[in-house]
């Protein structure tokens, strides 16, 4: 920990985590409640981006449908809540298990393909889930559904913005910890080795498909968790939360932050939302509704990252060790 402070990377990361840890206190002190809701979304999206990074960054599996796990986690909460099952102790495990099972099914099918085919088949499955959600008239169809937040009776009130934020932050820390262990574990090295040279890994005796599938399921489960959090954040679910645009945003966040790095997805999520929040009002100064098109600014920035900072934001903080 002390050693981490000596490098610019370590210092920035520790400062960032400290700020995130006390964010509710800061936003209260400066009376900027709105910032807390942005902070909450950043943390949730960071969790989703980390889960995508597990397969995309470490495993080289470019899933273009990761937002479908937002949807599965979110709809699990929403549908159960709609039927009067409000307990988070039931909703959350159901959401995570549903996301993991769905990941197992589509992983088993899509991981037989590579490259562009894998991208397209994951996108196709995500669209399938999207239209399924849009077709669920009982749960709002296209318009979505207002829901009540999950209840953890006596433990935690998710309606309290600060409590909810801290819960999300604690989960983010837990997942970051897991990912830091995962990356250098036997499992992580197999996944990373298969990204580097899967023919070689097979020739060494690794049943690569099984490990990839396990990683995909794990990633889906964490993605489902992010969906559960997202549904609770807005007390609302809709097919829009799993549109292909969101899947694209997740990829962008991971690439922008730094693929295959521990904190890259977090940096990416912060940069993404900071840009969205700052560019939208800036472009809207003329009151012509240009704010919607904030990605006009964002797009070229991404191109610059792709051209000049291949390791993403993470690589700007100096070389990585290990």
């Amino acid at each position: 920990m002390m050693a981490a402070l000596r490098t610019p990377r370590g210092l920035i990361t520790v400062l960032l985590l400290l700020i995130l840890a006390v964010l509710p206190l800061l936003t209260q002190a400066f009376d900027q409640r709105y910032l807390l809701s942005i902070g909450t979304r950043i943390v949730i999206w960071a969790i989703a981006a980390i889960s995508l990074n597990m397969i995309l960054g470490y495993g080289g599996m470019v899933s273009f449908g990761h937002a479908m796990f937002f949807g599965i986690g979110g709809y699990a909460v929403g549908i159960l809540a709609h039927h009067g099952i409000a307990s988070g102790w039931i909703q959350w495990p159901v959401g995570i298990v549903a996301a993991a099972l769905w990941a197992a099914v589509i992983g088993a099918l899509s991981l037989r393909t590579r490259g562009l085919y894998f991208i397209m088949i994951t996108l196709a499955f995500a669209q399938l889930v999207y239209y399924l959600g849009a077709g669920l008239e009982a749960y709002g169809g296209d318009d979505g559904l207002n829901i009540s937040r999950s209840r953890f009776a006596g433990l935690l009130d998710l309606r309290d913005k600060a409590s909810f934020y801290w819960l999300c932050f604690a989960l983010l820390c837990g997942i970051l910890w897991f990912c830091s262990r995962f990356a250098n574990s036997r499992f992580g090295l197999v996944i990373r080795g298969a990204k580097s040279n899967d023919l070689r890994m097979t020739a060494l005796g690794f049943p690569v498909f099984r490990y990839r599938l396990a990683a995909f399921v794990l990633s889906g489960a964490f993605g489902g968790l992010a969906g559960i959090l997202l549904a609770n954040e807005g007390a609302y679910i809709s097919p829009a939360m799993m549109s292909w645009v969101k899947s694209g945003d997740l990829i962008v966040i991971v690439v922008l932050g730094g693929m295959g790095t521990l904190f890259g997805p977090l940096y990416g999520a912060i940069a993404f939302f900071a840009l969205e929040e700052s560019m939208t009002p800036l472009l809207d100064l003329g009151r012509k509704g240009w704010g919607e098109y904030w990605q006009i600014v964002f797009g070229p920035m991404l191109v610059l990252v792709a051209l000049y900072a291949k390791g993403g934001i993470d690589s700007l903080f100096g070389r990585r060790h290990g």
Binding site: F178, R181, F182, N184, S185, R186, F187, G188, L189, V190, R192, G193, S196, N197, L199, R200, M201, T202, A203, L204, G205, F206, P207, V208, Y211, A214, G322
Partner: protein, 268 residues
């Protein structure tokens, strides 16, 4: 005679109209070095692909270690003790030399569904991996990224990775490819040390190496095994001279008796 470790029975593989493997029956006995030679396009790589499980034969069977492995996937054959090195160097370039061999060790150390413990500090993987690097003479390059190793060193690394699982049979696909004379000679000495201990199927263009190392040689031409026998028999075989050795600019090298003696001394 010992039961063969690896045997193929009338293996056939077609690519469209091309008969790449034409009813090939070969066997490798425990501990022997069996060389597979043949001109370019003879179907050596196709045959190796079927032995490793990367290609499915159209008909025929492959037995390894007393089992029919014809339908077994690659990783399962490796688990049975069939290791390979690649014709075109295939290492994990973003990993250090030590990581490469440690992963090879890990492949044989049970399942890898372990998510939390740091594998890079796992002595049960690192120690044998380092030992493997010592054996091939790469110990001082342990922490170098594989991509930064010289071509010859990468070939050595491949051998260390193939050896990591303590295989009973090694398929060496042109291990000397792109090596200098000195490096080749060192590798030949190293491989000769395994004679009688580990079986090898050696695919090699370097006739010097083949005639120095092989106990038996099979000659593949247009997908067919036209001859099989000791180096002397192969050298004397008129079909082989006609079909293959005759194409060489110089006649096959005379059998280096002195070198053979050195190798034997190492064995003892």
């Amino acid at each position: 005679m010992a039961e063969p470790l690896l045997s193929t029975d009338r293996l056939i593989k077609r690519f469209g109209g091309l008969l790449a493997t034409d009813s090939v029956s070969i066997d490798v006995r425990p501990g022997e070095i069996h060389a597979l030679i043949g001109p370019n396009g003879a179907g050596k790589t196709t045959l190796v692909g079927q032995l490793t499980g990367n290609l499915k034969p159209d008909s025929g069977t492959i037995h390894f270690a007393g089992r029919d492995v014809t339908r077994l996937p690659t990783h399962a054959r490796v688990r049975l003790g069939l290791a390979r090195s690649f014709q075109i160097t295939s290492v994990l370039r973003e990993f250090t030399a030590l990581d490469n061999v440690a992963l090879a060790v890990q492949a044989h150390a049970g399942h890898s569904f372990r998510f939390l413990a740091d594998a890079r500090r796992d002595e049960s993987l690192r120690r044998p991996a380092l030992q493997g690097l010592v054996e091939v003479g790469l110990a001082q390059r342990a922490d170098t990224l594989a991509s930064a190793l010289s071509h010859g060193e990468q070939r050595q690394l491949e051998i260390a990775m193939a050896l990591a699982g303590d295989p009973s049979l090694m398929l060496l696909d042109e291990p000397m490819a792109g090596m200098g004379a000195e490096e080749s000679q060192r590798l030949i000495g190293f491989l000769r040390g395994f004679k009688g201990k580990r079986a090898m199927l050696l695919i090699e263009h370097d006739m010097d190496a083949v005639f120095q190392l092989a106990d038996r040689i099979t000659v593949l031409v247009y997908g067919r095994a036209i001859a099989s026998g000791t180096p002397e028999e192969i050298r004397a075989n008129p079909d082989v001279r006609q079909a293959y050795l005759g194409e060489e600019d110089s006649p096959p090298p005379s059998y280096g008796g002195g070198r053979e003696g050195e190798g034997d001394a190492k064995d003892l």
